[in-house]
Symmetry: C2
Subunit: 210 residues, 2 copies
């Protein structure tokens, strides 16, 4: 990919790579500059390309951002497939799912990204299309965790709880802790939240489960 | 209070009322317009006064906003004193504390205010003075709940858990649910979070507690 400002057949040979680089640049700018810094110009500069090439792939910044958010659903699916392949143990799957939220949030880059995502969520509070996409992403994560819990109940590994309500409790607690970390600087919040989720939620799922 | 733009001895006879009205106007604008709409002019219009009278009481918008946040600590103290006077039952105190967060969040006005508070928190991520004040407010709430739990443990009403870690779990879950409600429109999230907190956290505090 180069900085050419022409659009046309030339780019058609490299759509996937170009899109990948645009998406990577979008992620990088959200982490570094927040939502306010996310302009088509900034993305083009970061990706080492031109605004017109970006417009060739995404009509508007909104289209680009919606595509960016949709990709997280693919990432989630890949993670779940890996988890499924990795272990048959329901508790191990549950803990790995929790850890994915916590361990990732411990990196400065992920903290910045969570902050940018909150900014986007606040912007989206009045924009139905974005809100739908953000809600779909959040729903997918919650349903995935609920499924892990439901499978554990079905196979007698977990106590019979409401899977979705339990998933919501775990994720609300972890998201609440990440929000504190990203906005108030309480750096130990996510790891402490993981401990509390283990002690108060995961351990009671196991009680009399097996 | 009137709309006069003069500052001087005339206002000195009504400082408390004027400040109350300015604070009420600030709250109202944060709910209606969010943090972005909070200008000294908007506050003056809402309070039916003048920018210069506001500047007579608060040098800058930052001073005004810091004073606004500090007032929440007074409100918290009043609530805790009421709670202390109302009941000696530790479980009742704990549930009343949880309800205060959840029931309030069910009003549209409070949802808007929580959204504005998140906006302020995101703004404050890079402003040390505001972050300190917002963190102090959040700390005070968490310490208050930890104290209720610790008193319950001391008097044998609750199982021996880490009071602050348990308070953090409860508040992270409730704040996470309120954030979902305010940004993604998942309206039932706080009430559902209350149920889950009761089932997974409060009930385990009571297990073998008494």
């Amino acid at each position: 990919m180069n900085g050419s400002s022409t659009t046309g057949p030339a780019e058609e040979s490299e759509p996937t790579d170009a899109r990948e680089e645009i998406m990577a640049a979008t992620y990088h700018i959200l982490c570094e500059e927040g939502y306010a810094g996310l302009t088509m110009r900034a993305i083009a500069t970061e990706a080492g390309t031109s605004k017109s090439l970006i417009h060739y792939h995404y009509d508007t910044k909104d289209d680009l951002l919606l595509a960016f958010l949709e990709r997280f659903l693919d990432r989630l699916d890949r993670f779940l497939a890996e988890l499924q392949a990795e272990t048959d143990d329901h508790e191990a799957r549950l803990l790995a799912f929790v850890d994915r939220f916590v361990v990732e949030s411990d990196e400065a880059e992920r903290q910045s990204f969570w902050r940018a995502l909150l900014e986007l969520r606040l912007q989206a509070a009045h924009d139905e299309e974005f809100r739908e996409q953000l809600r779909a992403n959040n729903e997918a994560i919650r349903e995935a965790l609920a499924t892990i819990i439901a499978e554990g109940i079905d196979e007698g590994a977990f106590r019979a709880v409401d899977p979705r309500a339990t998933a919501d409790l775990i994720l609300d607690a972890l998201e609440g802790a990440r929000t504190r970390q990203a906005t108030l600087g309480t750096d130990d919040a996510p790891l402490a939240a993981r401990e509390s989720v283990h002690e108060h939620v995961v351990s009671t799922l196991l009680d009399s489960g097996r």
